[in-house]
């Protein structure tokens, strides 16, 4: 329940982990390769003009003309701008790399025992896991790494999946049913299994995970693509503005040097968001991975932010997995303590959660201790599907508990002949969403135990938060509509789907999608697969079947159904971070104009100094300071890009007001202050 009670992410690797920084620095330099950088148009343009200014600087040095001290500094800061952008991406990637290395180790060490025929376990060949083919059968024994993804066709084993999930407690995997899938790279602890390989080497789960955490297969997500288009378009617009300025200035016989025009261009184009854009995307995926969720595409993470409706399974998500006894309702003439005592005895051998909860309730509400029955030679009657009863025979007492109609049949009463008080108790329990459990002793009705679906504490508040964010929650349950309605109202979900079959789920998802809504759901069984595939965000449980895992676009390694709520938050945070930094970056332009424009034309029109509202020391210092600010702001914002803009579960209006104030207004004001401070430093150090 940690995910429920604590929505903060697990401790991330420190932002300034030394090893990551050093390898990131090296990667940042490698990323300067223009062929690679061309994917990021804003930074690519910056690199091109940085090269141009460098050439001009060299020429000035050689010919002795111009102002090489100034051009050199501009060139240096332009290169820093590019480097800071590639560095941001490298740092973001670096945090995934350590994890990828650990995963890769499990892959390289694996040796497969390939069976010649699936039935003959004695005859196998040891080959490298990488040589396995689809459909091969391999034997995996205690202490072996499972060599590839597959289905268990025979046997049962406990498997340590900590390589993937980080959870060291072993899980049971067996052939048939919903727990037959195994993942390459996990280790069999005891017993043996025969696995049919279902994924070719190179496309196994671990391979996909490595690719994802490394960001090697990273493609621009739809939204990132749209944003890059906006940024490229703005770059083009400012390119037009700066290039034409040459002609417009020529009108008043002002010859602008290429260096200052480049400085103007680079400060105006959205280098801040351009430089941080891919880092934000990588960090978003990384955040998800730290929540032990693997998304098969960045598109899914973005879709998570857009989700309108969450389909949540009742059991395990909204309620605890098991029903609990909440009260004893005796029929008239029976003392509550007598009922409690009888049902306590009947439940002593009942190791189900329901049975244990009856014992616990008897102890807490009636002070009854578990009696020691060793000497009394009791006979325990285990639950049988045919009778739907269980109980105990002890010292002439024959106590039974079970389904209401079974108990009534046992005591020889038709449903209509049951005592009114008994009937009322049964009805009341059913109406409130509980399950009534009848109790009788030696053919006499004692009363009813109220077994209640217990809604998890705090879940109602979470749903209220989701509602404030504009997300509807829909509870899916196999219960009848009356029970479902009662739990739905107690948990505060917006809608419920009672007596739901997998087909119902699929139909519900389709219906919602036709109305333009995006749906998220989680599931584990093979029969969930169609719905998982149809949903916009389908989270499969790591413990689920191979079919479910392939149908969904995310896998939750912790197999915790409440993860969906966190996943939505992470998706939103990713989009918010992009939006906030875009707004900040664009708002910055105003101040930069006021820094550079007066400096450009001061020689022709000294009166334009009126626009120098920051009172910057000299034209050179103004231009240099703006370029330095533009470069440093990228570095300053790397932590924010990696951590993400804090997300609060409030409505869109409130979020917008808050972020617009911080990043919009802040983006307007901050550079005025920043450039002024840098200008003071530049003129104090006599750099310009």
């Amino acid at each position: 329940m940690s995910a429920l009670s604590n929505s903060a992410s697990p401790a991330p690797p420190s932002l300034f982990d030394g090893r990551i920084l050093i390898s990131a620095l090296r990667d940042a330099v490698l990323k300067l390769n223009p062929l690679q950088l061309v994917r990021n148009p804003v930074i690519f343009v910056t690199e091109v003009v940085a090269a141009l200014v460098t050439i001009l600087w060299v020429r000035e040095l050689a010919t002795g003309g111009g102002n090489p001290g100034f051009s050199g500094q501009i060139a240096a800061w332009l290169w820093f701008t590019v480097l800071f952008a590639t560095f941001a991406e490298a740092v973001a990637e670096g945090r995934g790399k350590a994890q990828a290395d650990a995963l890769r180790k499990t892959r390289s060490e694996a040796v497969a025992k390939r069976l010649r025929t699936p039935a003959d376990h004695a005859s196998f060949a040891r080959i490298a896991a990488s040589e396995l083919k689809l459909g091969d059968h391999v034997l995996v024994e205690a202490g072996d790494l499972i060599p590839g993804d597959g289905e268990i066709v025979e046997g049962l084993a406990s498997v340590n999946e900590s390589a993937i999930t980080g959870e060291s407690a072993p899980v049971i995997r067996e052939s048939g049913g919903d727990r037959s899938a195994v993942t390459g790279g996990t280790m069999v602890i005891s017993d043996w299994i025969v696995v049919k390989i279902t994924a070719a080497p190179g496309s196994t789960f671990i391979d996909r995970m490595i690719a994802l955490v490394e960001g090697a297969e990273r493609q621009k997500t739809p939204n990132e693509l749209a944003l890059s288009i906006l940024l490229s378009g703005m770059t083009l617009i400012f390119l037009i503005a700066v290039v034409t300025l040459y002609g417009l200035a020529g009108y008043s016989q002002t010859v602008l040097s290429v260096v200052v025009l480049v400085a103007l261009l680079v400060t105006l184009i959205p280098t801040t968001i351009g430089g941080l854009l891919s880092a934000i995307g990588i960090a978003g995926m990384d955040r998800l991975i730290r929540f032990n969720v693997i998304a098969t595409s960045g598109r899914a993470v973005e879709a998570a932010g857009d989700v309108d409706t969450l389909l949540l399974d009742k059991t395990g998500t909204i309620t605890f997995g098991n029903r609990m006894a909440s009260e004893f309702l005796p029929v008239p003439g029976v003392a509550a303590a007598e009922l409690a005592n009888a049902v306590l005895l009947a439940s002593l051998a009942d190791e189900t959660a329901e049975g244990r909860s009856i014992v616990a309730l008897a102890a807490s509400d009636y002070g009854l201790k578990e009696p020691d029955l060793g000497a009394k030679n009791p006979t325990f009657i285990p639950f049988a599907a045919q009778t739907r009863l269980s109980g105990i025979d002890i010292e002439g007492r024959s106590i039974r508990k079970g389904a209401i109609d079974s108990i009534l049949k046992l005591v020889g009463l038709a449903a209509s002949e049951a005592p009114p008080a008994f009937r009322q108790a049964v009805e009341r329990v059913a109406r409130t969403g509980g399950t009534p459990l009848g109790v009788c002793e030696n053919g006499r009705l004692l009363g009813v135990v109220h077994l209640k679906d217990v809604v998890k504490p705090g879940i109602k508040e979470r749903f209220a938060e989701l509602r404030a964010m504009g997300i509807r929650t829909v509870m899916v349950t196999g219960d009848n509509p009356i029970t479902a309605a009662a739990i739905a109202s107690e948990a505060g979900v917006d809608d419920f789907l009672a007596e739901a079959t997998p087909e119902d789920k699929l139909a519900y998802i389709r219906k919602e999608q036709q109305g333009g809504r995006l749906i998220a759901m989680c599931g584990d069984g093979t029969n969930d697969a169609p719905a998982l595939a149809q949903a916009d965000v389908g989270v499969a449980m790591q413990t689920g079947t191979q079919a479910a895992r392939e149908a969904g676009n995310m896998v939750d390694l912790d197999s915790s159904p409440t993860k969906l709520i966190e996943i939505v938050g992470i998706g939103k945070q990713l989009l918010m971070t992009r939006g906030s930094l875009t707004t900040f970056s664009i708002a910055n332009d105003v101040a930069k104009y006021f820094a550079i424009l007066p400096a450009l034309f001061i020689a022709t029109y000294p009166e334009l100094d009126a626009l120098n509202v920051m009172r910057l020391a000299s034209p050179q210092s103004a231009i240099l300071s703006a370029v330095i600010f533009n470069a440093l702001v990228i570095v300053a914002l790397i932590p924010l890009a990696l951590k993400g803009v804090p997300y609060r579960p409030v409505g869109a209006s409130a979020l917008l007001r808050r972020n617009l104030l911080i990043y919009g207004l802040g983006g307007l004001v901050a550079p005025f202050i920043g450039i002024k401070i840098i200008d003071l430093a530049v003129s104090a150090l006599r750099l310009a």
Binding site: M469, G516, M576, S580, L597, A652, G664
Partner: protein, 569 residues
Amino acid sequence: MTVTGWLQIVLVLSVVILLAYPLGLYMARVFKGEHTFLSPLLRPVETGFYRLAGVRPDQEQGWLAYTLAMLTFSLFGFLSLYLILRVQAYLPYNPQGFDNVPPDLAFNTAISFLTNTNWQAYGGETTMSHFTQMAGLAVHNFLSAATGIALALAVTRAFMHSGLATLGNFWVDLTRTTLYVLLPLSILLAIAFLATGVPQTLAGSVDVTTLEGAKQTIALGPIASQEAIKQLGTNGGGFMNANSAHPLENPTAISNYLQIIAMLLVSSALVMTFGEMVGRRRQGYALLAAMFTLLIAGVALTYWAEANGTPVLAAAGVDPAGGNMEGKEVRFGTAMSALFAAVTTGLSCGAVNAMHASLTPLGGLVPLLLIQLGEVLPGGVGSGLYGMVVFAILAVFVAGLMVGRTPEFLGKKIEAREMKLAMLAVLILPFAILGFSAVAAVLPAALSSLANAGPHGLSEILYAYSSAAGNNGSAFAGLSANTPWFNTTLGIAMALGRFAYVVPVMAIAGSLAAKTRVPVSAGTFPTDTPLFVGLLVGVILILGGLQFFPALALGPIVEQVLMVAGKTF
């Protein structure tokens, strides 16, 4: 600035809002094909047109078919107008015996009227015959306005439809706009203008003896009818060279109020129509609020600059209380001249009742900037609305991500395709304005047209290309624009500003129409709140205006600081 001045401004703008509301709702009924009080009269005419042209009014077009219909129609309009201009000497109703219009001027003028720009590189009363004025220019005053409105309707339908890739029928929209909206309004307004003293005659001119005993020829013509559609259709091409400053186009203070109201009316009403048709009136109010916020800021700045006059005038002994009256008509005064200047440029109308070149540099900066912001305040009929929708899409995209969802506007997701097309559209203005200006600023053939030196000359060039690309049509008088260079390049800029802009916008509309509408929830980015209005204003200023800042700094801004220092051009 005086209280009376401000009262007049507030009065005129209030009347516009009051009239725009019912007109907007009426237009929504017309464009949805519903019954209106004019239907009994006009429905037979309308269906008659369809039968004649073989148009099936219930057949909706996709964005491409709609756009192609518009382009074909425009091409035909261009060719026919060009022809009329080139052969007007052989055509009837030419009492003054004007010659054929030379090719470069005919090219420029044809594009100008086709694109609702009405840039006039000629003097109307000394160049164009009555036939040309009525059968050529006035026809396009109606059709170019109707085309703009039709395009805006297509864009509006993109938000009405869910998962349906059609945008209406161009021919139907064109017919209904002309028949139900522009014609009835024009008739009403022409009669009102007649009442204020605007002439309406087929006579050529009259010769009179002035009080000083000199002989003067006064040009006459069918002015009142021209004047009505010139204002209503945000065309702005005057019958006379002096446009609405001329006493026969705009004789009194009352006619001046009518002119301002008329030019604002249809564009403002269309925003209401938009809100009504997409089923969210509040959205219409929000867009209109953003438009009027910037417009009123522009009016205030111009009025302040003009009412304050200049230190140069004060030094020359002119009473500073009168403000800067150079180039203004005494019957209008500074307040109504400032309002007219801001409205005509916020609107892409281009009619003028004062000479913009004679405004103070700061006062002249406003019209220039308002054009460069994209003619969306509230913009030309139709074009203002679709331009504003593009800005709204950009605003939603830039800031919408901040609420943690894929940006959407009126339930339509804004994705890569829409962004690509929107950026294509917004590139047009800087490309056409700054590109041509930068060349003209250093080209001797262009520079020889300038009347003034220094930054004022640069403003003249900038203004010409801004006016053309923004399809405004007003001029910073002083530039002799009737040269092959300016006629050709301004013609190209006008065509780019209209067609190169609207084709990507129509593609956006087609793409949005086909998308399923996302239902509103608490997580939806709100686009009808004061906060959004503020955001939209910011985006218009930053994305629409910042790129022109360097150019403006070299023109009106530097001129202003120089003027304060006592230097004029």
